[in-house]
Amino acid sequence: MRPVYIAGIGQTPVGEQWERSLRHIAHDAIIPAMRDAQIERADALYVGNMLSGELVGQEHLGALVADFVGLRGIEAYKVEAACGSGAAALRTGYMAVAGGLHDVVIVAGVEKMTDTVGRETTAALAMAADQEYEAAEGVSFVALNALLMRRYMYEYDIPHGAFGYFAVNAHHNAAGNPNAMFPNSITLESYRKATMIADPINLLDSSPICDGAAALVLVSEDYARSVGNGRRPVRIAGSAVATDSLAIHDRRDPLWLDAAFISSRKAYQQAGVSIDDIDLFELHDAFTIMAALSLEANGFAERGRGVRLAEEGEITIEGRVPIATMGGLKARGHPVGATGVYQVLEATLQLQGLAGPNQVENASIAMTQNIGGSGATILTHILVGE
């Protein structure tokens, strides 16, 4: 396999982009990424997206976006793995370059979620779960996470308030990210008082519905040398994906993200790093409970201790395991199919020393993890700044 580098990045602000359509926000991320990488053409474009068919009535995003950004003719298609679509598109691009098929690939994550009203969006998001045996019973995606959170609180005797540290940290970090949806600070007090949406999950446990697009240009090693933007080269040192049952009720242990465990072990091994080498971890905090379960399944905390890590301040930018350094899904926002690309883009900024007030000191190895559904598809990437 050939080494793969990130040569350019582009993103739109995350939020409600009423004036811009799906194809426009894709454009708003891809063009800056191409400029950043100083390219005019690419061999292929992979678009990560989950909900365009359901919420915008548009599939076939590869050709649509390729044409719209002036790349008509190139290889292009959509990659879908629910909320893990962004990282799945990245992995497709990674495989194409690492395998020697292409030298320059654009990976874009795009999601437009605000063209529909609440109940339709709720129903669409439930497509990430088992349609016939979870969603069909009227169980929303939020409710599935609430089932996990309730059980977690029960098994480990953790009060709801303890999860607030995840939300507080995410909002704090979003304040330093000009593209974040919620750059406002919150307190543990406001967390406790937030509106309940599926108990015990309240509004501040949950990531928002929003629009957003992010893009990366992936290149081979030879090509990377020719890009002259002067920034630190960032290499994708590990890329792995693993799966679990779609339905939570089919898992042997619902509180254990097996696909996170498997994919992170593979990624550590491929990158030749150990968990202690990771300087920051962009995890999939779609809900605070997911942050806790991720920290545990990936080895950053023992079982039942993920929340404790947050409580003890270890997850802040200065902490032992900085997470959600640019706001995470919670406060940067979670445009579902775009999220995995945002995570890698933000980790790249950290490794290049471009994270501004949120800079993790001496960051040279970053991990990102993007989760499809309630843990059914989990993609782990490890980036190394060279």
């Binding site: 129903a123 409710a143 309730r150 599926a198 015990p200």
Partner: protein
């Protein structure tokens, strides 16, 4: 869901008909073509008793399309006595009365209506096991 999709799963939804694996004897619900425990083909029909306990629960305040008429409603992961876990609504109970470990039993209830002119969908839900006061008296 379309008429055909609803119809296809009628036995499972009306009566919790799953399977029992011929090889490892594990009960399976919902039915699958391959046993999740031993990866052998699983085909023998088996009706679960419908009794189980609440593994976890929550309340849906913001329902997906098609469930507006019922919200808020409690939902749960129910661990069935025979082993499998199911995701289902709870019924005949106020959300604040649900507890982890509570014994529940399956009832067949109306899940939703596909609009005023569409079909009515019935499915399994769970309620607290019925108290048999009369018998005790």
């Amino acid at each position: 869901m379309s008429v055909a999709r609803t119809w296809r799963t009628r036995k499972q939804r009306y009566a919790l008909v799953g399977e029992r694996c011929d090889y490892c004897q594990n009960a399976i619900f919902p039915p699958r073509d391959v046993c999740p425990h031993c990866a052998e083909p699983a085909q023998k029909e088996f009706a679960l008793s419908g009794r189980g306990t609440v593994y976890s629960y929550t309340t849906v305040f913001d329902p997906p399309t098609g469930f507006d008429a019922f919200a808020p409603y409690p939902v749960a992961l129910v661990k069935l006595d025979e082993g499998p876990m199911v995701t289902a609504q709870l019924t005949d109970i106020m959300p604040d009365q649900v507890k982890i470990g509570m014994p529940v039993e399956m009832v067949t209830r109306k899940l939703n209506e596909q609009g005023d002119e569409g079909i009515i969908v019935y499915s399994y839900k769970f309620r607290p096991q019925l108290q048999r006061q009369a018998l005790a008296a």
